[in-house]
């Protein structure tokens, strides 16, 4: 834990707004005591099933479940046992495991902003801890599901993933509210460690509601030769969401960070990805596809910093406006501090091409069907290394997103 001066800084940060996104008055929401529950029967009639469905899961898949401020300690699925993977609520891991204590709050400082400060001081360290030992390839996706099922609550989650040297893991997380919950706050702190020559794919689906405010704070550290694929989908209305995940790469590490955002209603979506190429030969590709309808505002940020020789990176931000009242702002930043770094970006915002729409309508598709096909195509990105099972699930989500995106 931090020293008293450190804690004072965190307390001070309770009032510190984030640099991006609307400032949320957390005092308007209720804070619930964090607890860990060993009896899964508490899930019956909890609304979890309905929340999980919205992110493409059934409630039996996740190894970790968090309802509001209650972590449900489910026995690790047998299929994962043979890989010696540790999955438990971080709250417990911090008590039992030295490695958890070593990794917690190292990539994200608690005093970063008011949301991290609140999570640090009041979050109760709920969230999951996943530890994959060295030289272990876990072919099965590891699922987790976090849901807010009660009005006006703040949900905190602090997730730590460690993938040991030469190992491989695929983590899928869904965060959601069931239909009917209209107000709340979700603050998620995620720290990912990818060891030497290890690989982590992290797929996340968010499905919120018009009065939810969401502030994920994510950081990843890739040791040499490590690989990190971050694949993020958000398709629901939201009050506001602001996130800017940051990956720091050592020698020859590489990352692919994709965000697929379908914004609607009057939500503010401020989302981005950042990669810092610290190591020689490291590389990053940041891709975003954003679709805006109704009166939503989407800020699509991306930044790559090339700080080492032979590093390379590319940003591709594409936006599609579906209504006159919506707004997309694409903000790619590329920075190089060495002669031998190659970084580029492309950004474009447009509307559905009339020629393509007419073409599909000539093939017998109605205007709505044709738009859905084009929006679905627009949102297709080939995220490398995502397991086929997860890809199928994501594809189903995107099929649904494309139908919803056109209203």
């Amino acid at each position: 834990m931090h020293e008293s001066s450190g804690k004072a800084r965190v307390i001070e940060a309770l009032q510190k707004p984030a640099p991006y996104g609307p400032d949320i008055d957390l005092g308007r929401y209720e804070f619930e005591e964090a607890r860990v529950e060993g009896d899964p029967s508490v899930l019956s009639e909890s609304g979890l099933e309905r929340a999980a469905m919205r992110v493409g899961m059934d409630s039996s898949s996740p190894s970790y479940i968090q309802l509001n401020q209650m972590a449900i300690y489910r026995a690790i699925h047998r299929a994962l046992e043979k890989y010696n993977v540790t999955i438990m609520p971080l709250r417990e891991a911090l008590e039992k495991l030295e490695v958890a204590r070593e990794l917690s709050w190292k990539l994200i400082k608690p005093e970063t902003d008011k949301y991290t400060a609140h999570a640090y001081l009041y979050g109760g360290e709920l969230g999951y801890f996943i530890y994959v030992p060295p030289r272990t390839k876990v072919p099965l996706p590891i699922y987790s599901c976090l849901a807010i099922t009660v009005e006006k609550r703040v949900q905190f989650a602090h997730n730590v993933i460690y993938v040991g040297e030469g190992s491989e893991a695929h983590v899928v997380t869904g965060c959601s509210v069931p239909h009917g919950v209209s107000e709340g706050v979700h603050i998620g702190i995620s720290e990912f460690y990818v060891g030497r020559n290890a690989k982590l794919t992290f797929s996340m689906v968010h499905a919120w509601a018009r009065g939810l405010h969401v502030r994920p704070r994510t950081a990843a550290r890739l040791e040499s030769g490590g690989e990190f694929v971050n694949y993020y989908v958000l398709y629901s209305p939201v009050g506001s969401i602001q996130a800017y995940p940051r990956a720091v790469l050592e020698e020859n590490a590489k990352t692919y960070m994709a965000s697929i955002i379908a914004g609607s209603e009057s939500g503010v979506y401020d989302l981005g990805s950042m990669a810092v190429l610290e190591g020689r030969g490291s590389s990053a590709e940041i891709v975003s596809r954003v679709v805006a309808r109704d009166s939503c505002k989407i800020y699509a940020r991306a930044e790559i910093r090339g700080e080492a020789p032979k590093s390379k990176g590319h940003i591709e931000c594409l936006g599609l406006l579906l209504s006159n009242d919506s707004m997309i702002s694409s903000i790619p930043i590329i920075t190089s501090t060495t002669l031998e770094s190659r970084i580029s970006h492309e950004a474009a915002i447009g509307m559905i091409a009339q020629e393509e729409l007419e073409y599909l309508m000539c093939k017998g598709f109605t205007e709505e069907e044709a738009k859905a096909i084009l929006v679905r195509g627009f949102m297709s990105v080939e995220a490398p290394g995502i397991p086929s099972r997860v890809k199928v699930e994501m594809d189903k989500i995107l099929d649904m997103v494309s139908r919803q995106a056109i209203g």
Partner: protein
């Protein structure tokens, strides 16, 4: 049975009359060819039959299966069995060729997907984005497949033979012959006529000049003269012969 009837049809684009007073009947199972130099209005005529929004019937009517379809949107015409093979279909990023193909199979109930992909040798294109980076021949073959999957009663084929290699020309003509053998009526537009000697059935040839169909005849009587003399001189000869003959 008359499938399509154009009655005094004039077609405008941005207020300018491109096709003028065309009257034409196509019976079920017939194969018609419309020939003419570039810019004579052939493609505009097909686009109007399909109902593309940028072309407008400014005079006359279009009847299909005894129904006036002049004001119907393109997807309704497609649902009724009309399909257009575009001369230059647009590249559609992110949308896989196979996805559109499968959606059409689902919509139109066509059961010969695999067979048709083989006829046109497009298996390797199925997982690619639709028309993105395709060669001229690949583009025409892929578009032809999508038309076939619609199981059309009336296929409107806009320059299926332009800009394609010999192998693609053979594959496309095989596909057209397959469509015709299944009873589809076809209106094929071509300015070069490259494909015509590969077609198993050809009922009428229409020559279009300056937006008008200026001559209609049987292929045996028209094609040798047009191929030998070109459109303008050929038409003079044909009309002269008609006058003498008449």
């Amino acid at each position: 049975m008359i499938l399509l009837e154009l009655s005094g049809l004039s077609v405008c684009i941005n207020g300018k009359e491109i096709v003028k007073d065309v009257t034409l009947e196509v019976k079920q199972g017939e194969v018609h060819v419309i020939m003419g130099p570039n810019g004579s209005g052939k493609s505009t005529l097909l686009s109007c039959i399909m109902g593309l929004p940028r072309v407008r019937a400014c005079k006359g009517r279009i009847y299909y299966q005894n129904t006036d379809i002049t004001s119907k949107p393109p997807y309704e015409r497609a649902t009724m069995g009309i399909a257009l093979a575009h001369q230059s279909p647009p590249s559609i990023r992110g949308v896989k060729f196979a996805e559109v193909g499968k959606a059409l199979v689902k919509k139109c109930g066509c059961s010969d997907f695999t067979f048709m992909t083989r006829i046109l040798n497009v298996e390797e294109l199925l997982n690619r984005e639709l028309f993105v980076g395709y060669s001229g021949g690949e583009r025409k073959r892929a578009e032809m497949l999508l038309v076939m999957l619609q199981a059309p009663k009336l296929a409107l084929l806009d320059e299926p033979d332009s800009g394609v290699d010999i192998e693609s020309l053979d594959l496309i003509s095989n596909a057209i012959n397959y469509l015709a053998s299944r009873g589809s009526s076809i209106i094929l537009v071509t300015h070069s006529g490259n494909i015509l000697n590969k077609l198993a059935r050809l009922d009428y040839v229409h020559i279009m000049l300056g937006g008008r169909i200026v001559y209609t005849g049987r292929p045996d009587g028209v094609l040798p003269i047009v191929f030998k003399l070109g459109y303008r001189e050929g038409i003079k000869r044909l009309l002269g012969e008609e006058a003498v003959g008449g």
